[in-house]
Structure formats: C-alpha cells, structure tokens
C-alpha cells in the first residue's frame, strides 16, 4: 500500500498524508465519472464500448461532459462551498480534455475514484488537481437526491 500512496502522490502532487484517505478497494467496474454521479454500475466515457448517455455528443470535450452530467440533473454552479440539499461535482481537464471528476460528500469532504484503482476521500476538490488530472474546469450541482 505504501507503494500505491507513492504512485498517487507522484501523479497528484497536491495530495499529502493529511488531506486524503483511501476508502475502497480497486475496481475495474466503474470510473471517476460514474462515481461522481453516485453510480458504480458502469464505466462512463465517450468512446464505443463504454457507457455514454443518449443524446450527448461522443467527444472528449468539457462541453460534452457537462452535457452528460446534465442528463442526471447537474447544472453549472459558482463554487464548491457546501450547500445543504445540494450535490456538487467538480470536473477536471488537462489541455481542455476531461480527465477526472470528483463529488462532494454531505460532510463537505470530496470523493474521487482514481481510474481503475481505489476511491479516496479528500479535503477539497483542488487537491486532486495540479498533476495528471490538470485543473478543475467546472463545478456542477443538482438538488440532492434522497
């Protein structure tokens, strides 16, 4: 596990021993996009052979990903502050290509699925940026689903 922490921190240099923790086992069955939407039953990506919602452009652009999130009720919002009754996700991109998404938990902490690896809980969305995932490019919100 120490080696995995080393790998994670090398790729995502803002992560430190104090701002994240591992919360699941690794899984090839879902990715960060699904997890940001609260789903674990599919791997979302706009390529043939992976799930992508009907009616959304099959392209790796921020606009297409925002549209994919919109199919489940998410709309762009201003900030990442915790708001009661609101679920927020943050979309990351590198060179304008989407790379990652994270989801805010009711506690105000954030959760991310790292590729086919583990889920982590992290202090802010920004701490998974600055490396392989690039930077946060959109914050999306919807009324909490009970």
């Amino acid at each position: 596990m120490a080696a995995f922490h080393e790998l994670v921190r090398a790729a995502l240099p803002r992560l430190t021993a104090d701002n994240y923790r591992i919360t699941s086992r690794a899984s090839w069955e879902y990715n960060c996009i699904a997890w940001a939407l609260g789903l674990t039953d599919a791997w979302w990506w706009p390529v043939p052979g992976r799930y992508w919602p009907a009616g959304v452009l099959w392209e790796e652009t921020v606009a297409a990903f925002v549209a994919a999130f919109a199919t489940l009720g998410y709309k762009p919002c201003a900030g990442t502050d915790l708001e009661p009754g609101v679920e927020k996700t943050a979309l990351f991109a590198r060179d304008e290509t989407p790379t990652h998404a994270a989801r805010q938990l009711p506690s105000g902490l954030w959760t991310s699925k790292l590729g086919p690896s583990i889920d982590i809980e992290h202090s802010t969305p920004e701490v998974v940026g600055g490396g392989g995932y690039g930077e946060m490019v959109a914050v999306l919100a919807r009324k909490a689903v009970t």
């Binding site: 994670v8 090839w28 990715n31 039953d41 390529v47 052979g49 790292l114 590729g115 086919p116």
Partner: protein
C-alpha cells in the same frame, strides 16, 4: 470439457505479463478509455497478435481488466452488444462466452 489449446510459450506469457504490469502501473489513475488503450504497453500487447488471446481471456476470468479493445483489435470481432457498453462484468462475460465457444479457454 478438456481444453484443446496448446500451452503458450513461457516467453510469450512472460512478455505479456511484463507489458500488462507496466500498463496497469502507468495507467492506474486514468479514467479515459482512450488514454488506457493508447498506452504503448497496451498497443504492444495488441502487437503480440492472436497468440495472446488465451492470456487475455484468462485474465478476464480473474478480474474484469479492460482487455476488450485489445481482443477486438486482435480478433476483428466484437461480441459485446451496445446495450452492454460500459457494463464491465457483462462485457467480460460476453468475451468469455466468445472464448469458450471457440475452445480458447
């Protein structure tokens, strides 16, 4: 049912495992299927050709590693119906059924 395939040469198995381990390590944090498939080690596995198919299927039996694009590229076939796209256990089951029907596993 007995298996009718001949054992792969040890060197092929070692080569495959080395490439697979490299691919998994270097893509461990990637969600992008495009990036996963474009990785040089994944492309090198495709380059090993049909001999590697039983190895890919055997790994799929263990866990649903995303060998689907490699299998599709090597075989020129795709047993996964669009309604299973992204449903990884179903995609693995489709490919395993394909392999079993051909005596490859």
């Amino acid at each position: 049912m007995s298996r009718t395939t001949t054992p792969e040469p040890a060197s092929l198995s070692a080569q495959f495992q080395a490439l697979a381990n490299q691919w998994k390590a270097e893509t461990a944090l990637l969600s992008s299927t495009s990036a996963l498939v474009a990785h040089p080690a994944y492309q090198a596995i495709i380059g090993l050709g049909p001999r590697v198919i039983p190895l890919l299927l055997r790994e799929l039996e263990e866990e649903p590693v995303h060998w689907f694009e490699a299998l599709k590229a090597i075989t020129g076939e795709d047993p996964v119906p669009p309604e299973h796209w992204g449903r990884i256990p179903a995609m693995a089951a489709d490919w395993l059924a394909w392999g079993r029907s051909r005596g490859l596993i």
